[in-house]
């Protein structure tokens, strides 16, 4: 492996002259046919730097090569929506929320890094998604995250969870962004592969939308932000050890360290640059660093770009050109700027103490050319790197065990035989890590900084005020259920969307658009690919019915430990708009004497339920049915109820069913409820079934007639099941539990 003398720089000329030189394409994760294709595109062997670029840009993570044939549906089946200003394909979609305001939002995974180094992995996950939003020209105003860990009592969860939570809190709090919601779920399938999905939302005026492109010959390419170091280039060290002797620090870290204060400067600096209209194109540095930013900027423009790597400010002078191109150092951005605006651009950067350097310019040609020490080391058509990566139609097959899993219904599970046992079941549910109080986690996040948060965890959705004068606001929810998706990925994905949609509507906001983070196992496993294709199909079909287009998102594959994949976990974020946040509906019961109504139909549905898992460790059967038209109707009623002041509180029913929702509404308001089980249904089913399309609302007595008339007129089943009253949850004729006991059970569930 070790070569005593430093070999010559692998320039384009050198590569042309040494076609037979062996290259470590396999070690860089390229397949033989991909390497052959690169040689065909270039008409010669790639240089080391070109190989580095192609290998990272054609990786699953950057090229979506296994997923894009399925993701196409989100565009093809997208429902028409007047609210869409920028669709899927940009850094993030942009949605019109009225009054000249637009918001952009996106969710992205940082799963693997968060397992290796929980604090930094989760922190840089937040940093990455915030820069994505920033690159659209929007001011980031809030974050959210969806977290999944192994069993709560597993020793490694005690390592991973506190680190991840501290990392999200540390980075987000330092940036001054409120963390307004999300979810935390525990399941042994995530033990060796936790999921950290971070969402950011940004706000801008319509006229401020910016898209990444690099048109205009002579325009300058400016790299600004942090210096480039050897972060996250574990892969490139293979190239390095091939090219240089082993004396240098060849073991590059795969861990990137975030610096939120640098990011804060980058945000303010970038927004000022946008305000003065100084850029024609802009790109954040995500995975694949400079390789990605230059090739994407160039290929979105006219194609030609020349970059000089010697001008890239380095933190570590021993970096090879390949490593500079692949480095994932955080807090960097790339802008394309007209020559006469460069001085002003640099002056603003200096004001914010942000390092900015002209590293190249847009050229007339259609090639991306990169020079190092005066020699040309990259000469490629940028589209071939950024967009024309391989597309795979991977084999997919419904797994053999699927039928068996679905046949193993929860009907055989023993249900609590007495009222007392049902009461214990309720306490067990309320005190379980999945359903219990998550304050230990959410208290580490600043939820109210910036002063615009009107709803945050544990509400159904986070909600922030956008316009102080009019009260215009947006609500966001982020939900998924891997257990449902394992039982039936098509329905499971729709249930995730339905829950998120319902959560947004429950606060009184009208759902407008969707972002998704699709977490699955290895695409090389046909069973996983089948799960993935079913989930995409389910989600795209459901978005069509609900009229909420997918605006963007992220795919994370290879989430597995050994050969065992995680449960397929599509996580869906829904964004909604509310005309006046004063009209919002909280989860908590507020007024004694208000009437509790259950909206929707309750069936005997326990497949994938929290009860089946908790009481029996069981996962089997079918997930709850989805009725999207019903979800729409329910949402309309919840929104109208909020707008017209007919309801005091609303809470969506999901995992844990009615019982869990009642407990949360009671504990939230510190008021109990007396509930009557209808004659037509068994108490246990009534309390714990997880049928979708349901919510509970509390209605002031004065509004009862108006509310029930509305439900009847729209044919939404609404059953009066009780009244807000007292200091216990009293299921009449069954059992009663004091709020004190419920609070104690819930509060002790999640502590690390």
């Amino acid at each position: 492996m070790s070569t005593p003398a430093k070999p010559p720089l692998d320039t384009v000329a050198h590569a042309t002259g040494t076609p037979e030189q062996p290259q470590p394409w396999a070690e860089l994760g390229l397949k033989e046919d991909e390497y052959t294709r690169i040689r065909e595109i270039l008409g010669r062997r790639p240089t080391g730097a070109e190989l580095a670029m192609y290998s990272v840009m054609w990786s699953e993570h950057c090229s979506y090569k296994s997923s894009k044939v399925h993701l196409k549906q989100f565009g093809e089946k997208a429902p028409h929506s007047d609210a869409m200003l920028v669709g899927i394909g940009e850094n993030a979609g942009v949605v019109d929320i009225g009054e000249g305001w637009a918001v952009t939002f996106k969710v992205e995974s940082h799963n693997h890094p968060s397992y290796v180094e929980p604090y930094q992995g989760a922190a840089t996950g937040v940093g990455g998604i915030v820069r994505d939003i920033l690159a659209m020209g929007a001011r980031p105003v809030a974050v959210m995250d969806s977290l999944r860990f192994g069993a709560a009592d597993h020793p490694d969860t005690k390592r991973v969870l506190p680190g991840v939570v501290a990392g999200i809190g540390g980075y987000g709090n330092c940036l001054g962004l409120p963390n307004i919601g999300g979810e935390t779920v525990f399941d042994p399938c995530y033990q060796g592969n936790p999921l950290v999905n971070a969402l950011c939302i940004g706000v801008m005026r319509h006229e401020d939308i910016h898209l990444a492109k690099a048109a205009g010959s002579g325009n300058k390419v400016i790299l600004y932000g942090a210096r480039t170091g050897g972060d996250g280039i574990g892969g490139a060290s293979i190239l390095a050890s091939e090219t240089f002797d082993d004396a240098k620090p060849s073991k590059r870290p795969s861990v990137q360290v975030g610096d939120p204060f640098q990011e804060k400067l980058l945000i303010e600096c970038t927004l000022e640059i946008f305000r003065e209209n100084l850029v024609t194109g802009i790109q954040d540095f995500g995975a694949a660093g400079l390789s990605c930013a230059t090739s994407e900027l160039a290929s979105n423009g006219s194609g030609g770009m020349r970059v000089d790597l010697d001008d890239v400010p380095l933190r570590d002078s021993t970096l090879t050109p390949e490593e500079i191109l692949m480095s994932e150092s955080q807090e960097r951005m790339c802008a394309v700027v007209e020559p006469d605006k460069v001085d002003r651009f640099l002056a603003i950067c200096e004001k914010w103490d942000v390092i900015a350097t002209v590293i190249g310019e847009v050229t007339d040609g259609d090639r991306l050319e990169i020079y190092y020490h005066g020699e040309q080391i990259v000469d490629v058509p940028p589209r071939s790197v950024a967009h024309d990566g391989p597309t795979l139609n991977r084999p997919l097959a419904r797994p053999g065990w699927q039928d068996e899993l679905q046949a193993d219904t929860p009907d055989r599970l023993e249900r609590p035989a007495s009222a007392e046992l049902t009461r214990l079941t309720l306490l067990q549910l309320v005190g379980s890590p999945d359903q219990g109080d998550k304050s230990w986690i959410t208290d580490q996040y600043d939820r109210y900084v910036l002063g615009n948060t009107v709803l945050a965890s544990p509400e159904d959705s986070g909600m922030i005020r956008i316009d102080e004068a009019s009260g215009l606001g947006v609500a966001l929810s982020l939900d998924g259920n891997g257990r449902y998706a394992k039982l039936d990925p098509y329905t499971g994905a729709q249930l995730a969307l339905a829950e998120s949609y319902r959560n947004v509507a429950a606060t009184g906001a009208k759902p407008l658009a969707v972002t998704d983070c699709l977490n699955f196992g290895s695409p090389e496993d046909p069973a996983v690919m089948w799960q993935f294709s079913e989930a995409c199909r389910g989600l795209a079909d459901a978005c069509q019915v609900l009229g909420t287009p997918v605006t963007g998102g992220n795919v994370s594959l290879y989430n597995q430990t050994g050969d065992t994949a995680i449960n397929p976990t599509p996580v869906v974020g829904v964004l909604g708009v509310i005309d006046d946040v004063e009209r919002r509906t909280p989860v908590a019961f507020r007024t004694e004497g208000s009437l509790v109504y259950l909206l929707g139909d309750t069936r005997d549905e326990f497949g994938g339920s929290a009860w089946a898992q908790l009481a029996h460790g069981h996962l089997g059967g079918l997930p709850p049915q989805v009725d999207l038209e019903r979800e729409r109707l329910l949402a309309e009623v919840l929104i109208a109820g909020s707008r017209d002041g007919m309801i005091d509180s609303a809470h969506d029913l999901s995992a844990g069913g009615l019982a869990q929702a009642l407990v949360e509404s009671c504990l939230g308001g510190g008021i109990g409820a007396r509930v009557v089980v209808p004659d037509t249904i068994a108490a246990f089913t009534f309390l714990f079934s997880e049928s979708a399309g349901r919510a509970i609302v509390s209605v002031p007595r004065s509004e009862e007639v108006r509310f029930t008339d509305m439900c009847r007129a729209r044919s939404l089943p609404a059953a009066r099941i009780g009244v807000v009253d007292g200091d216990a949850l009293d299921i009449q004729g069954q059992f009663a539990v004091s709020l004190e006991e419920l609070r104690e059970a819930s509060a002790s569930a999640v502590k690390f």
């Binding site: 290796v116 180094e117 930094q120 942090a226 170091g229 050897g230 972060d231 620090p249 590059r252 870290p253 861990v255 990137q256 360290v257 610096d259 204060f261 640098q262 933190r315 570590d316 150092s329 955080q330 103490d353």
Partner: protein
């Protein structure tokens, strides 16, 4: 009775935002000529017995598993006389 010092530093290739902040502040305060700053932590451990090989092995284990995050940090263990 002996004192053992464990020094924990970020690995050289890992970004050190705190060190950078200090470095940027130095010239502003008139301290010129310093080209790089890396900030670490120092632990002073007081032993109730001699710092023999067995004790040091335990301390190395503690450093490896608890005092340092060896994914991003290196440490050194030395006996202070």
């Amino acid at each position: 009775m002996a004192r053992v010092v464990v020094d924990v530093m970020l690995k050289p290739e890992i970004l050190d935002p705190q060190g950078q902040a200090v470095q940027r502040a130095l010239p502003r305060l008139g301290f010129e000529g310093i080209t790089d700053v890396r900030q670490g932590k120092r632990f002073e451990l007081e032993l109730d017995g001699p710092a023999d090989e067995a004790a040091l092995a335990r301390i190395r284990e503690a450093a490896e598993t608890f005092l340092a995050n060896t994914v991003i940090e290196d440490f050194t263990v030395r006996v202070e006389s």
